[in-house]
Assembly symmetry: C2
Homo-oligomer: 400 residues x 2
Amino acid sequence: MPLIDADRFLKDLNELRQIGKYKTGVHRPTYSPEDMESRRWLMERLAECGLEPSIDGIGNVYGRHKGNGPHLLVGSHIETQNQAGWLDGALGVVAGVALARAGLPVDVCAFADEEGHFEGGFLGSRSIIGELTDEEIDRSRSRNDGTPLRDALAAAGLAGKPRMQLEPGRHKGCFEMHIEQGTQLENAGLRVGVVTGIVAIWQWHIRFQGQQDHAGGTTMAERKDAGLSAVRLLAAIDAEFPRICGPRSVWTTGRITLDPGAPSIIPGVAEVLFQFRDVEVPVLERMEEALRRLVAESNRREKCPAVLTQMSRATPALCDPAMMAALDAAAEQHAPGVWQRMPSGAGHDAQYIAKRMPVSMLFTPSIGGISHHWAEDTKEEDLALGIQVLGDAAARFLAS
Amino acid sequence: MPLIDADRFLKDLNELRQIGKYKTGVHRPTYSPEDMESRRWLMERLAECGLEPSIDGIGNVYGRHKGNGPHLLVGSHIETQNQAGWLDGALGVVAGVALARAGLPVDVCAFADEEGHFEGGFLGSRSIIGELTDEEIDRSRSRNDGTPLRDALAAAGLAGKPRMQLEPGRHKGCFEMHIEQGTQLENAGLRVGVVTGIVAIWQWHIRFQGQQDHAGGTTMAERKDAGLSAVRLLAAIDAEFPRICGPRSVWTTGRITLDPGAPSIIPGVAEVLFQFRDVEVPVLERMEEALRRLVAESNRREKCPAVLTQMSRATPALCDPAMMAALDAAAEQHAPGVWQRMPSGAGHDAQYIAKRMPVSMLFTPSIGGISHHWAEDTKEEDLALGIQVLGDAAARFLAS
């Protein structure tokens, strides 16, 4: 079992926390001076523990193990959402440093812009698997201020650098440690989550066509109220989905827009942004079937026809059974009875790396579930426990 | 029975239609050069039929009958919505001219800015009953371009003019003829509507407080989805209101706002603009009671508490029974079997005049219900029929 120096791990995390410090969190948007300073800081740490550090043309920082394999890849992202937490991303990168310090044969990577400050998002993990084109880089702009991605890369000193690719066959698998960003562990009194997969999000746009009319001059019988048709469909989804979904499925209406949106006008158009998530394709397909059936029923019943359009249809990234087994065993050894398997409801770099090698993830609890906010935090003892479980699982998996 | 010259009435209407002509409609926003030209045109017509014309400090054009009473007041408004119809308002003003031409003892008034180009709206009818203060005039601005009302009045040559008030006891009642702005008459194959009252609008704001969370990291059981609570309440209103409402009640959700309104974020706050309308206070009170009960049930059932705030609570303006009886009799004589009593769902100048004297309204059908659009229209034969019914009803009421 590798000897993980948890104190040094926490010291590294706290050092990184000083870069772009904002209240108790950090502010390190992708390619900002603070973000680039954190990437230079990481390269120094990687060199310190004997890895060969480099940075590539999209900002990925890579520490390559110099010895023989089999190798593992360990990483996450180092930039943050605006005025956000100190652990989101940084935890998984510094975890790689901790495993390298313990002598494990790991390459460590900080994938650029997982947080999507630039259009597209996941730039680093998509680039390193060969799925980010130069044309997309040419087009992409900052979601914060519209700066072209090319300009931001040039300002960060990255223009013209080659973009690294994963070396086929080099890695036995990839581990990503991350904060949960939810309250499932905390609410259940648990300290470690072994991730079974990263859910796929299937996003939908539903548009109801009614007829805009004066709210005073039009009787209830005459109306074609697009908003009311939308409300009835959403209430029907709410009643039906629990019957057909999986135990961890979620579905969300994020936006309802009534046009024109004035108090005395019957809405002529209603638009709904709807999504559902699950880690299993058969469950996603059942939810799609139910949604299509409910829309068809709405169109038989209502005067305002609904048009359902699928906006995205991702594939869930399933975690590797052998890697999960290694994490289970390590968790049971160090945190007996206070861990569980669980899906990741949020997206992570590992979902792209999963296209090239086995992946797995370990979650630590988020205090109060707070995420994407400077108040995000995790107890130090949970961080120390998590890195020990990760190190042990890595050793078990390498030996398996 | 007075002899109404329907051809002259249509000729007057078509002459007025040339001022600010836009496609088949007109564009005469309040105090615009076109609007002021129409007011001067009206003063000439009023003088032509023997009335004493004047214009006051808010733009009301008044034609005073010089003979003995009892007098009637007949009027509506002459400005239009932007690029709107030729009859909305103009019809009721020119109807007054037609009754004066027929020798009936009527004062005719064009009340300024019924259409609310300026904040507040109904400036003329509120001014003439003494309910528009100088302070409100000082504050009010154009909803089109922000011009202060005082500047607009000055540019129209109205600054410094006194504002006329209704002469107490002078009028036995006020008739307003107007287009229906809906499709009830047309759909029922009817040609005349005798208005029973002008509905009151009771407006509400409903705010649901949930908890904003990541749509991936929060299980369905953990969520406090403010949008979902709003959808369930609105669906419950939709199911309950038909049980307790009156035959002509209407209710409308004009806007639903989910905060922050992003596809992957569980809404932390939902806000709803809701209103209902009826002409009878007991019905309005039943609807309020049902709404309050449904909100209370929602607050017992849901995790997102709803706060209900009343934004406005108007009093319906009931039409005078004797005037309605005169209209009924005249309608039955000239349009046997093709008229009905009906409430007005939209607001009209008569609702303010009703605070000072008995009022009644006559509706003519709107082709396709089109209103506030240049395509608004009414068949010439319905206009001719309507003015005959109005003239006959005025004579009957005066004689009653």
